[in-house]
Symmetry: C2
Subunit: 133 residues, 2 copies
Amino acid sequence: MKIGELAKRSGCSVQTIRYYEKEGLISAPARTGGNFRVYDSPALDKLTFIKNCRTLGLTLDEIKQLIMLQDSPGRPCEKVNGMIDEHIGIVKSRIIDLQKLHDDLKVLRQKCGQARTIEQCGILDELSPKSSI
Amino acid sequence: MKIGELAKRSGCSVQTIRYYEKEGLISAPARTGGNFRVYDSPALDKLTFIKNCRTLGLTLDEIKQLIMLQDSPGRPCEKVNGMIDEHIGIVKSRIIDLQKLHDDLKVLRQKCGQARTIEQCGILDELSPKSSI
DNA sequence: ATTGACTCTATAGTAACTATAGAGTGTAGG
DNA sequence: CCTACACTCTATAGTTACTATAGAGTCAAT
Ligand SMILES: [Zn+2]
Ligand SMILES: [Zn+2]
Ligand SMILES: [Zn+2]
Ligand SMILES: [Zn+2]
Protein backbone atom coordinates (compact mmCIF):
# COMPACT_ATOMS: atom_id res chain seq x y z
CA MET A 1 0.00 0.00 0.00
CA LYS A 2 1.06 3.61 -0.51
CA ILE A 3 1.48 6.18 2.23
CA GLY A 4 -2.04 7.56 1.94
CA GLU A 5 -3.64 4.23 2.65
CA LEU A 6 -1.21 3.53 5.48
CA ALA A 7 -2.17 6.88 6.96
CA LYS A 8 -5.87 6.02 6.83
CA ARG A 9 -5.39 2.55 8.24
CA SER A 10 -3.07 3.64 11.04
CA GLY A 11 -4.74 6.88 11.98
CA CYS A 12 -1.49 8.82 11.55
CA SER A 13 -1.21 11.64 9.04
CA VAL A 14 0.93 11.28 5.94
CA GLN A 15 3.38 13.88 7.20
CA THR A 16 3.63 12.17 10.55
CA ILE A 17 4.57 8.90 8.87
CA ARG A 18 7.30 10.61 6.88
CA TYR A 19 8.43 12.32 10.08
CA TYR A 20 8.66 9.01 11.93
CA GLU A 21 10.77 7.64 9.12
CA LYS A 22 13.11 10.61 9.28
CA GLU A 23 13.38 10.18 13.05
CA GLY A 24 14.21 6.50 12.70
CA LEU A 25 11.09 5.15 14.37
CA ILE A 26 10.09 3.19 11.31
CA SER A 27 12.45 1.93 8.65
CA ALA A 28 12.49 3.35 5.15
CA PRO A 29 10.15 1.29 2.98
CA ALA A 30 10.65 0.12 -0.59
CA ARG A 31 9.88 2.55 -3.39
CA THR A 32 8.00 2.24 -6.66
CA GLY A 33 9.57 3.23 -9.96
CA GLY A 34 8.03 6.65 -9.48
CA ASN A 35 9.70 6.99 -6.07
CA PHE A 36 6.51 6.42 -4.03
CA ARG A 37 6.82 4.65 -0.70
CA VAL A 38 5.24 1.16 -0.58
CA TYR A 39 4.38 -0.47 2.73
CA ASP A 40 3.54 -4.04 3.73
CA SER A 41 1.37 -5.18 6.60
CA PRO A 42 4.21 -5.57 9.16
CA ALA A 43 4.88 -1.87 8.54
CA LEU A 44 1.27 -1.15 9.46
CA ASP A 45 1.71 -3.21 12.63
CA LYS A 46 4.79 -1.27 13.63
CA LEU A 47 3.09 2.03 13.02
CA THR A 48 0.03 0.92 14.97
CA PHE A 49 2.30 0.01 17.88
CA ILE A 50 3.75 3.52 17.81
CA LYS A 51 0.27 5.00 17.63
CA ASN A 52 -0.83 2.99 20.65
CA CYS A 53 2.18 4.19 22.60
CA ARG A 54 1.57 7.82 21.64
CA THR A 55 -2.05 7.53 22.71
CA LEU A 56 -0.71 6.64 26.14
CA GLY A 57 1.54 9.67 26.14
CA LEU A 58 4.89 7.94 25.70
CA THR A 59 7.49 10.17 24.08
CA LEU A 60 9.08 9.27 20.77
CA ASP A 61 12.36 8.63 22.58
CA GLU A 62 10.71 6.18 24.90
CA ILE A 63 8.99 4.46 22.00
CA LYS A 64 12.34 4.20 20.28
CA GLN A 65 13.69 2.47 23.37
CA LEU A 66 10.77 0.05 23.40
CA ILE A 67 11.37 -0.77 19.76
CA MET A 68 15.03 -1.46 20.48
CA LEU A 69 14.12 -3.63 23.44
CA GLN A 70 11.90 -5.71 21.21
CA ASP A 71 15.00 -6.72 19.30
CA SER A 72 16.29 -8.70 22.28
CA PRO A 73 13.29 -10.90 23.09
CA GLY A 74 15.16 -13.02 25.62
CA ARG A 75 16.16 -10.22 27.95
CA PRO A 76 14.06 -9.41 31.01
CA CYS A 77 11.34 -6.81 30.58
CA GLU A 78 11.96 -4.76 33.73
CA LYS A 79 12.82 -1.69 31.69
CA VAL A 80 9.45 -1.82 29.98
CA ASN A 81 7.62 -2.18 33.25
CA GLY A 82 9.76 0.56 34.79
CA MET A 83 9.02 2.93 31.96
CA ILE A 84 5.29 2.53 32.46
CA ASP A 85 5.65 2.98 36.21
CA GLU A 86 7.60 6.16 35.69
CA HIS A 87 4.96 7.40 33.30
CA ILE A 88 2.18 6.72 35.69
CA GLY A 89 4.09 8.81 38.21
CA ILE A 90 4.49 11.70 35.80
CA VAL A 91 0.83 11.64 34.84
CA LYS A 92 -0.16 11.52 38.49
CA SER A 93 1.88 14.55 39.41
CA ARG A 94 0.61 16.43 36.36
CA ILE A 95 -2.92 15.75 37.52
CA ILE A 96 -2.09 17.04 40.98
CA ASP A 97 -0.57 20.20 39.48
CA LEU A 98 -3.61 20.79 37.32
CA GLN A 99 -5.96 20.23 40.25
CA LYS A 100 -4.13 22.91 42.16
CA LEU A 101 -4.23 25.19 39.13
CA HIS A 102 -7.94 24.56 38.79
CA ASP A 103 -8.56 25.45 42.41
CA ASP A 104 -6.46 28.59 42.11
CA LEU A 105 -8.34 29.65 39.01
CA LYS A 106 -11.65 29.08 40.77
CA VAL A 107 -10.58 31.30 43.64
CA LEU A 108 -9.37 33.94 41.24
CA ARG A 109 -12.63 33.85 39.30
CA GLN A 110 -14.64 34.51 42.43
CA LYS A 111 -12.86 37.81 42.93
CA CYS A 112 -15.02 39.28 40.20
CA GLY A 113 -18.62 38.23 40.51
CA GLN A 114 -20.51 40.29 37.99
CA ALA A 115 -19.30 42.61 35.28
CA ARG A 116 -17.47 45.69 36.49
CA THR A 117 -15.06 48.01 34.74
CA ILE A 118 -11.50 47.02 33.95
CA GLU A 119 -10.39 49.38 36.67
CA GLN A 120 -12.48 47.63 39.30
CA CYS A 121 -12.03 44.08 38.01
CA GLY A 122 -11.30 41.84 40.95
CA ILE A 123 -9.39 39.43 38.77
CA LEU A 124 -6.96 41.98 37.38
CA ASP A 125 -6.58 43.37 40.86
CA GLU A 126 -5.67 39.98 42.20
CA LEU A 127 -3.13 39.39 39.45
CA SER A 128 -1.44 42.73 40.04
CA PRO A 129 1.37 42.94 42.60
CA LYS A 130 0.42 44.94 45.66
CA SER A 131 3.46 47.17 45.51
CA SER A 132 7.18 46.86 44.91
CA ILE A 133 8.62 49.83 46.78
CA MET B 1 18.19 48.01 38.65
CA LYS B 2 19.86 45.90 35.97
CA ILE B 3 18.39 42.79 34.38
CA GLY B 4 20.02 40.36 36.81
CA GLU B 5 18.40 41.94 39.81
CA LEU B 6 15.05 42.18 38.04
CA ALA B 7 15.35 38.48 37.28
CA LYS B 8 15.95 37.63 40.92
CA ARG B 9 13.17 39.88 42.18
CA SER B 10 10.61 38.70 39.65
CA GLY B 11 11.51 35.04 39.54
CA CYS B 12 11.93 35.12 35.78
CA SER B 13 15.22 34.23 34.15
CA VAL B 14 17.32 36.87 32.44
CA GLN B 15 16.73 35.30 29.05
CA THR B 16 13.00 35.15 29.66
CA ILE B 17 12.93 38.88 30.39
CA ARG B 18 14.75 39.65 27.16
CA TYR B 19 12.37 37.28 25.38
CA TYR B 20 9.33 39.08 26.78
CA GLU B 21 10.76 42.35 25.58
CA LYS B 22 11.28 40.97 22.09
CA GLU B 23 7.71 39.65 22.09
CA GLY B 24 6.34 43.01 23.13
CA LEU B 25 5.02 41.95 26.55
CA ILE B 26 7.16 44.49 28.35
CA SER B 27 8.44 47.70 26.86
CA ALA B 28 12.10 48.26 26.11
CA PRO B 29 13.72 49.92 29.13
CA ALA B 30 16.29 52.69 29.26
CA ARG B 31 19.94 51.80 28.74
CA THR B 32 23.12 52.77 30.52
CA GLY B 33 26.07 54.24 28.66
CA GLY B 34 27.40 50.71 28.36
CA ASN B 35 24.15 49.54 26.74
CA PHE B 36 22.87 47.68 29.83
CA ARG B 37 19.12 47.62 30.41
CA VAL B 38 17.94 49.60 33.46
CA TYR B 39 14.56 48.94 35.05
CA ASP B 40 12.41 50.87 37.50
CA SER B 41 9.92 49.50 39.98
CA PRO B 42 6.84 49.80 37.71
CA ALA B 43 8.73 47.51 35.34
CA LEU B 44 9.05 44.98 38.15
CA ASP B 45 5.32 45.27 38.79
CA LYS B 46 4.51 44.59 35.17
CA LEU B 47 6.81 41.61 35.05
CA THR B 48 5.35 40.26 38.26
CA PHE B 49 1.88 40.56 36.76
CA ILE B 50 3.03 38.50 33.79
CA LYS B 51 4.62 35.96 36.10
CA ASN B 52 1.39 35.63 38.07
CA CYS B 53 -0.54 35.05 34.88
CA ARG B 54 1.95 32.46 33.63
CA THR B 55 1.75 30.62 36.93
CA LEU B 56 -1.95 30.26 36.24
CA GLY B 57 -1.24 28.87 32.80
CA LEU B 58 -2.38 31.83 30.73
CA THR B 59 -0.67 32.01 27.35
CA LEU B 60 1.51 34.93 26.36
CA ASP B 61 -1.10 35.95 23.82
CA GLU B 62 -3.77 36.04 26.48
CA ILE B 63 -1.52 38.02 28.78
CA LYS B 64 -0.89 40.46 25.97
CA GLN B 65 -4.64 40.90 25.67
CA LEU B 66 -4.97 41.51 29.39
CA ILE B 67 -2.26 44.12 29.22
CA MET B 68 -4.04 45.86 26.37
CA LEU B 69 -7.32 45.74 28.26
CA GLN B 70 -5.67 47.47 31.18
CA ASP B 71 -5.17 50.47 28.94
CA SER B 72 -8.91 51.10 28.79
CA PRO B 73 -9.83 51.17 32.50
CA GLY B 74 -13.38 52.38 31.92
CA ARG B 75 -14.51 49.53 29.70
CA PRO B 76 -16.36 46.56 31.17
CA CYS B 77 -14.27 43.61 32.30
CA GLU B 78 -16.34 40.79 30.79
CA LYS B 79 -13.49 39.74 28.54
CA VAL B 80 -11.22 39.24 31.53
CA ASN B 81 -13.82 37.18 33.34
CA GLY B 82 -14.56 35.23 30.16
CA MET B 83 -10.91 34.44 29.64
CA ILE B 84 -10.64 32.94 33.09
CA ASP B 85 -13.84 30.97 32.62
CA GLU B 86 -12.53 29.59 29.36
CA HIS B 87 -9.29 28.65 31.06
CA ILE B 88 -11.00 26.85 33.83
CA GLY B 89 -12.80 24.84 31.18
CA ILE B 90 -9.59 23.93 29.42
CA VAL B 91 -7.88 22.91 32.64
CA LYS B 92 -10.90 20.83 33.62
CA SER B 93 -10.92 18.91 30.38
CA ARG B 94 -7.19 18.39 30.55
CA ILE B 95 -7.63 16.87 33.99
CA ILE B 96 -10.31 14.55 32.67
CA ASP B 97 -8.05 13.48 29.81
CA LEU B 98 -5.18 12.80 32.17
CA GLN B 99 -7.40 10.83 34.52
CA LYS B 100 -8.40 8.60 31.65
CA LEU B 101 -4.77 8.26 30.62
CA HIS B 102 -3.83 7.38 34.16
CA ASP B 103 -6.50 4.69 34.34
CA ASP B 104 -5.44 3.27 30.98
CA LEU B 105 -1.82 3.17 32.08
CA LYS B 106 -2.79 1.39 35.29
CA VAL B 107 -4.65 -1.26 33.33
CA LEU B 108 -1.71 -1.65 30.97
CA ARG B 109 0.71 -1.98 33.86
CA GLN B 110 -1.27 -4.83 35.36
CA LYS B 111 -0.75 -6.88 32.23
CA CYS B 112 2.78 -7.61 33.40
CA GLY B 113 2.93 -8.43 37.07
CA GLN B 114 6.44 -9.59 37.72
CA ALA B 115 9.50 -9.56 35.51
CA ARG B 116 9.30 -11.75 32.44
CA THR B 117 11.24 -11.70 29.21
CA ILE B 118 10.66 -9.10 26.54
CA GLU B 119 9.01 -11.76 24.46
CA GLN B 120 6.49 -12.56 27.17
CA CYS B 121 6.01 -9.01 28.44
CA GLY B 122 2.31 -8.39 28.90
CA ILE B 123 2.76 -4.69 28.35
CA LEU B 124 4.46 -4.99 24.98
CA ASP B 125 1.90 -7.59 24.02
CA GLU B 126 -0.93 -5.24 24.87
CA LEU B 127 0.64 -2.42 22.88
CA SER B 128 1.12 -4.59 19.80
CA PRO B 129 -1.70 -4.85 17.26
CA LYS B 130 -3.29 -8.28 17.17
CA SER B 131 -2.93 -8.66 13.41
CA SER B 132 -3.43 -6.60 10.31
CA ILE B 133 -4.12 -9.23 7.66
C1' DA C 1 -4.02 15.50 -23.97
C1' DT C 2 -5.63 16.90 -19.78
C1' DT C 3 -7.69 16.66 -15.44
C1' DG C 4 -7.47 15.28 -10.68
C1' DA C 5 -5.82 12.79 -6.86
C1' DC C 6 -1.89 11.47 -5.03
C1' DT C 7 3.08 11.66 -3.90
C1' DC C 8 7.83 13.63 -3.52
C1' DT C 9 11.49 16.85 -1.06
C1' DA C 10 12.67 20.73 1.47
C1' DT C 11 11.61 24.33 4.41
C1' DA C 12 9.28 27.07 7.90
C1' DG C 13 6.16 27.49 11.65
C1' DT C 14 4.11 26.23 16.28
C1' DA C 15 4.83 27.70 22.32
C1' DA C 16 7.62 29.43 25.51
C1' DC C 17 11.36 29.35 26.61
C1' DT C 18 16.68 27.51 27.31
C1' DA C 19 21.37 27.33 26.07
C1' DT C 20 25.02 28.44 24.04
C1' DA C 21 29.10 31.55 21.53
C1' DG C 22 31.69 35.43 21.32
C1' DA C 23 32.15 40.06 22.59
C1' DG C 24 31.82 43.99 25.64
C1' DT C 25 31.19 46.42 30.57
C1' DG C 26 32.20 47.48 35.17
C1' DT C 27 34.41 46.99 39.51
C1' DA C 28 37.42 45.39 43.17
C1' DG C 29 41.95 43.69 44.51
C1' DG C 30 46.91 43.55 44.04
C1' DC D 1 47.65 50.22 35.97
C1' DC D 2 46.53 45.56 35.28
C1' DT D 3 43.72 41.89 35.75
C1' DA D 4 40.40 38.72 37.34
C1' DC D 5 35.62 38.14 37.79
C1' DA D 6 30.79 38.84 37.49
C1' DC D 7 27.72 40.64 34.72
C1' DT D 8 25.65 42.11 30.33
C1' DC D 9 25.04 42.38 25.23
C1' DT D 10 23.36 40.27 20.48
C1' DA D 11 22.47 36.55 17.61
C1' DT D 12 21.58 31.94 16.83
C1' DA D 13 20.20 27.19 17.55
C1' DG D 14 17.80 23.72 20.13
C1' DT D 15 13.69 21.76 22.54
C1' DT D 16 8.73 18.36 21.25
C1' DA D 17 5.95 16.32 17.94
C1' DC D 18 4.13 17.51 14.70
C1' DT D 19 1.59 20.70 10.85
C1' DA D 20 1.58 23.42 6.79
C1' DT D 21 3.05 25.02 3.00
C1' DA D 22 5.61 25.47 -2.03
C1' DG D 23 6.86 23.62 -6.12
C1' DA D 24 7.56 19.60 -8.71
C1' DG D 25 6.62 14.96 -10.18
C1' DT D 26 3.51 10.40 -10.77
C1' DC D 27 -0.32 7.95 -12.33
C1' DA D 28 -4.96 6.48 -13.72
C1' DA D 29 -9.00 7.84 -15.99
C1' DT D 30 -11.51 10.66 -19.27
ZN1 LIG E 1 7.83 9.20 29.92
ZN1 LIG F 1 -13.71 41.38 36.25
ZN1 LIG G 1 -6.29 30.12 27.57
ZN1 LIG H 1 6.79 -6.80 31.24
